[in-house]
Symmetry: C2
Subunit: 141 residues, 2 copies
DNA sequence: TTGGATGCAAATACTTTGCACACGG
DNA sequence: CCGTGTGCAAAGTATTTGCATCCAA
């Protein structure tokens, strides 16, 4: 199963014109092994244990490259800076993944979702928010 | 309408033992005026136009304080660093707002939500993700 | 009066960049 | 061989912190 993902990855890289380097493989394999959602620094710390000669910049650059080519995902597109909101009403967000603009959506239907029973009962959910990712009109060109 | 929010804010501060300072009012008022979701730096740049003597640290500290007391909201709890994910399957996230741990949820029902028609049709949505905010077992104490 | 708030500057955390060199295809 | 990738160090951006002083209640 792991092996098939690796093979797929190598093929995907080739298809997208990305060189299959030693470093790239090491980073990707580490990311696959992690079930949480590590930061670039986390992964750097992992990889460096095995390959002490790797550069931090290589890890950062690779993660961004792989993300841009849709080979891995980013949990949030809004990590660059904290964003604050004075609005008290419950609402959801439309996020332009290119320019990072955020638009509000109010929708009674979306506010009343039934929580899925897949959620671990020991986790206390007190709210939820839906983030729609896409492109605003300006960024569609 | 604006005035009533200000009055409410003053009352809330008193209730929570927060001093009502000149700086705090200026920051909060600016945030209320903005319909987008500004960063601390954005707000600092706004406030400083009117009150050139205010300190950047005061703006940052106030936003965090107000957030901790639930007087304003933060669009994301995961802004500290980019988080990557090797998993290809579509899924949603359970986020512990205290320790920032992220747990995955897979749910067919949640994957097939009907998009609300409140969404501006010029915005191209290509995906959505639900983030459930709460506290993990460890952080509930 | 007193605990919380402010201001400043320094420190820290995360990330990007420029450039010379190395390497995969 | 060519274009992409790597490594290093420096720079950039976002944020926090320590501490002396100040001020709202």
């Amino acid at each position: 199963m792991m092996q098939s993902k690796i093979n797929q990855f190598v093929q995907d890289c080739k298809d997208k014109g990305l060189n299959v380097t030693f470093q790239r493989m090491a980073i990707y394999k580490r990311l696959l092994n992690r079930l949480d959602h590590p930061t670039a620094e986390d992964l750097y710390q992992e990889v460096i244990k095995e390959y002490p000669m790797i550069s931090r910049a290589t890890v950062y650059k690779n993660l961004e490259t792989l993300f841009e080519h849709n080979l891995i995902a980013k949990v949030t597109h809004l990590h660059d800076a904290a964003r604050y909101d004075g609005k008290q009403e419950h609402h959801h967000h439309l996020v332009c993944v290119r320019c990072k603009a955020i638009f509000d959506i109010q929708s009674e239907r979306l506010d009343n979702l039934q929580l899925p029973n897949e959620i671990d009962p020991t986790f206390k959910v007190y709210d939820y928010r839906i983030q729609f990712d896409g492109l605003c009109q300006k960024c569609q060109s």
